[in-house]
């Protein structure tokens, strides 16, 4: 019989339609591990606007998320492995919702525990930057002009590049000779 490792009772990845309780998730992630000195988390929420695209407050009425069942889970597991190999992280947790969400709802949760804050802050941001550019999710938003697929942003690729990793998501190759 092996001794359970800290937070072994918490799954690392959940893809779900249901909402999540950030307080309960954070408590569960660090439960039983007295070596934890830092917990950093990120919660992404659905906005009702895109300032840059002249879509004002209230113009995004709903957001629908599609994913690639099976690949989504394994891709995020691999991202967590990469995060734990790179930073001194004790436990990590990713929750991503799918289906139809309303403005103001929680959409994604990323949390890490570490002995010290430096690794915790960096690991959380690294994991989120990976998720934005490598995990197979797609957003479709409902606007007054109808539903439309959200375009990937070059700035998300740039965020990942700060870590020395390159995504080429927003400008994914169309074939030989293309950027």
């Amino acid at each position: 019989m092996s001794i359970p490792s800290p937070s072994a009772h918490v799954p690392r990845v959940s893809i779900q339609t249901a909402d999540f309780d950030t307080g309960a998730e954070l408590a569960a992630l660090r439960a039983g591990d007295l070596g934890v000195g830092a917990v950093v988390s990120f919660v992404g929420t659905v906005r009702d606007r895109h300032e840059a695209e002249a879509l004002g407050p209230g113009s995004i009425q709903a957001m629908e998320l599609e994913h690639y069942p099976g690949m989504t889970e394994s891709a995020i597991e691999a991202m967590i492995d990469a995060t734990m190999a790179r930073f001194r992280v004790r436990a990590a947790r990713v929750i991503h919702r799918v289906g139809v969400l309303q403005p103001g709802e929680q959409i994604v949760f990323v949390a890490v525990t570490s002995s010290h804050r430096g690794d915790a802050f960096q690991a959380c941001e690294f994991l989120m930057d990976y998720l934005k550019t490598q995990a197979p999710f797609w957003k479709k938003e409902t606007t007054p002009e109808g539903a439309r697929w959200v375009d990937a942003r070059v700035s998300d690729d740039a965020a990942l590049a700060r870590w020395g990793d390159f995504a080429s998501n927003a400008v994914a190759s169309g074939g030989p000779g293309q950027a």
Binding site: G44, L65, E66, H67, Y68, G70, M71, S74, A75, H96, I107, V108, M128, L131, K132, T133, Q134, A135, P136, F137, W138, K139, K140, W149, V150, D151, A152, D156, N169, A170, V171, A172, S173, G174, G175, P176, Q178
Partner: protein, 83 residues
């Protein structure tokens, strides 16, 4: 050999969720895309070379030089936008 195809997001809306493709042994992902484009509408427009698309082979991101094998699952989809 025969591979299984899957499409997501805007590609799923245009092409359906899945399909199949017969290919010569040793074909690469880029060749599969070219054969689909050669089918004409609606594949030609959805998979056109000027479009930024990503591919996954057996549920792992891949590039177009990845070599296919019989029974593989090949997915094409637009750049991802989760988070």
């Amino acid at each position: 050999m025969k591979i299984k195809l899957r499409y997501f997001a805007s590609l799923r809306e245009a092409l359906g969720a899945q399909g199949e493709l017969e290919l010569p042994e040793g074909s690469r992902v880029g060749e599969a895309r070219d054969r689909l484009i050669a089918r004409g509408a609606p594949f030609e427009a959805s998979l056109a070379r000027h479009k930024a698309l990503r591919a996954a082979l057996n549920q792992a991101l891949c590039d177009e030089s990845a070599v296919l094998a019989d029974g593989d699952e090949l997915a094409f989809f637009p750049p991802v936008t989760g988070g």
